[in-house]
């Protein structure tokens, strides 16, 4: 097995290569504005570091968000194109689940990532493997009461300490963890792997025009 994993749903552009037993190489850069520039070179970097070729890949794991749309789509279209070009399967994993897996926590907690516009993408977990709510997007103050006392992982907790006082790590997902989690699911629960469809959770901003505005003042 040679699994390529990456996630672009947060400011971290993270890429890893996994052989079924170990993470062979990992590359992470935090720069949300350069996802389109950093992802493809990140992929060649992990392949080169491990001395492998694209043609040797047996699968792709990709974080499907939720996350800011532009960066998220770079990851998803990259995964779909690689899957098409190499004739290999693509496995979608919720990005919040990757952060949850990285907490190594067996107690209830939540994950919150930056959704911009003063909101967070979030979900609740009973332990690091088990999500108990659907991913959603909300203003931190509206969910802080629900999460009273619960530790919160992800950048959302760092950005909104008043709403989420018990911040725990990690801040961003890592592709090495995404690869591990994907392999676990492939073995134990392959149905939990999703088609790489983005979790936007918001509709596009667009307004239908009303009645035509007059241009004359008189």
């Amino acid at each position: 097995m040679l699994l390529l994993a990456f996630d672009t749903a947060t400011p971290a552009i993270t890429v890893a290569l996994h052989d079924g037993t170990h993470v062979l190489a990992e590359s992470t850069t935090v720069d949300a504005r350069r996802t389109g520039e950093l992802l493809a070179p990140g992929i060649t970097a992990v392949l080169t570091a491990a001395g492998r070729k694209p043609g040797e890949l047996t699968g792709v794991a990709v974080g499907v968000g939720p996350g800011p749309f532009t960066g998220l789509r770079v990851g998803l279209v990259t995964a779909r194109a690689l899957g098409d070009a190499l004739g290999i399967p693509i496995h979608g994993v919720c990005t919040l689940d990757v952060v949850a897996y990285q907490t190594k926590t067996e107690e209830p907690f939540a994950v919150a990532t930056d959704a911009r516009r003063k909101e967070v993408y979030w979900a609740q977990y009973t332990d690091r493997f088990t999500r108990s709510t659907e991913p959603d997007v909300a203003h931190p103050s509206l969910i802080s009461e629900r999460l009273t006392g619960l530790p919160v992982a992800g950048e959302g907790a760092v950005l909104y300490p008043e709403a989420f006082p018990k911040a725990i790590g990690p801040r961003h997902p890592s592709a090495g963890a995404l690869a591990e989690l994907t392999i676990r699911r492939l073995q134990s629960d392959p149905d939990s792997l999703m088609f790489p469809e983005p979790l936007y959770l918001r509709r596009p901003d667009a307004v239908e025009p009303g009645t035509r505005k007059r241009v004359s003042t008189s």
Partner: protein, 349 residues
């Protein structure tokens, strides 16, 4: 046939606006031009909604590649090089095409060229009318662009001569079509309505044609406002709007200015060929008037067929093919997409 086989096979991607285009070209021969458009999803908004376009690009990308390969009767393993629009265009939309193209290039281990959308609009005519003459003038007119360019070398030397200072020509068509209640996109609807009308019925203004105005720049915002005012005055007076006459007179005002300035650009630069591209190049009156005025001035007009004038992947593949043929260096895998890329940057490295 041998020469054809020897030319490299180039796969081109275009996602700068609302069309997901994938084209395949060998040399100057067009093998496939697959386009998926999200135009219907934008119609009720009266214009392209960037996020709606970007979402549609993601969904259409792989199926459009597969359709292009099937149409061309080739496989990905046959591809020699990849080209993709790096800019200008809608930022989020450009990124989807660039990321896809980079992934295919990486997986296939082939060179990639991040290219300029406007240069691609020019180069596409090679697929239909053969090699471009050195030093032609190109007029690109669409919902996104209105520019006059001098083109000594489409792979590396494209010089801006003039452009719109406000609305693009195609944008003016869209806005006037809305004023007239015709729908979106406005270009073909106005063209059709105008056929029954009198182009001299109403004297709409010709923007930027005064003695002190920049001779090769355009302005269409004042014209659009003037049409809206004219229509409102009739509506307020309870008069019927002569749709066909308004459409014809508006269209005449646009194409009169476009063709006048295009001919002037040719004369000033000693060019004996005028190339017209972009969606508005499909306008029937523009084609007729350009031909008429060019013939008088001893200039030859080249206009690709309508589906090569609008945004498509074949034009990007055509430019990619020319870059390969001339031995130009490809881009690095980390090249940026640039929503406001200047036309002087034909390839982003």
């Amino acid at each position: 046939m041998t020469a054809l086989k020897d030319s490299p096979l180039v796969l081109g991607f275009e996602t700068s606006c609302d069309e997901t285009g994938v084209g395949i070209v060998r040399g100057n021969t067009l093998l496939a031009d697959a386009v998926a458009s999200s135009v219907d999803e934008h119609a009720r908004f009266g214009g392209v909604v960037p996020e709606v376009a970007s979402r549609a690009h993601l969904e259409a990308m792989v199926p459009t590649v597969q359709r292009a390969l099937a149409d061309a009767g080739v496989t990905l393993a046959d591809i020699d090089a990849i080209a993709v629009t790096a800019g200008p265009g809608l930022a989020g939309a450009l990124l989807v095409g660039a990321a896809a193209a980079k992934a295919y290039a990486l997986a296939l281990d082939k060179p990639i060229y991040g290219v300029n959308h406007l240069a691609a609009h020019i180069c596409v005519d090679q697929l239909e009318h053969g090699p471009l003459p050195e030093g032609c003038v190109a007029m690109l007119v669409s919902g996104g662009h209105s520019s006059l360019l001098f083109v000594p070398d489409v792979t590396g030397d494209v010089q801006p001569l003039g452009q719109t200072i406000d609305d693009a020509a195609g944008e003016a068509f869209d806005k006037v079509a809305r004023v007239l209640g015709l729908g979106f996109p406005g270009g073909p609807l106005i063209d059709k309505a105008a056929r029954e009308g009198d182009p001299e019925a109403i004297a709409f203004p010709r923007g930027l044609t005064g003695p002190r105005d920049a001779p090769l720049d355009f302005s269409f915002s004042g014209l659009k406002t003037s049409v809206a005012r004219w229509v409102e005055r009739r509506e307020r007076a309870g008069e019927k709007i002569p749709l066909a006459d308004v459409a014809a007179s508006f269209q005449e005002a646009v194409v009169d200015v476009l063709t006048r300035k295009a001919i002037l650009a040719c004369k000033e630069n000693g060019a004996d060929h005028l190339l017209i591209g972009g969606g508005v190049a499909a306008n029937s009156r523009l084609r007729v008037l350009a031909e008429e005025r060019a013939t008088k001035a001893g200039i030859r007009v080249r206009v690709p067929r309508p589906n090569l004038c609008t945004d498509n992947g074949a034009m990007v593949a055509a430019l990619g093919s020319e870059l390969v043929r001339r031995g130009r260096a490809p881009s690095h895998l980390d090249f940026p997409s640039d929503s406001s890329q200047s036309v002087v940057d034909v390839v982003v490295r």
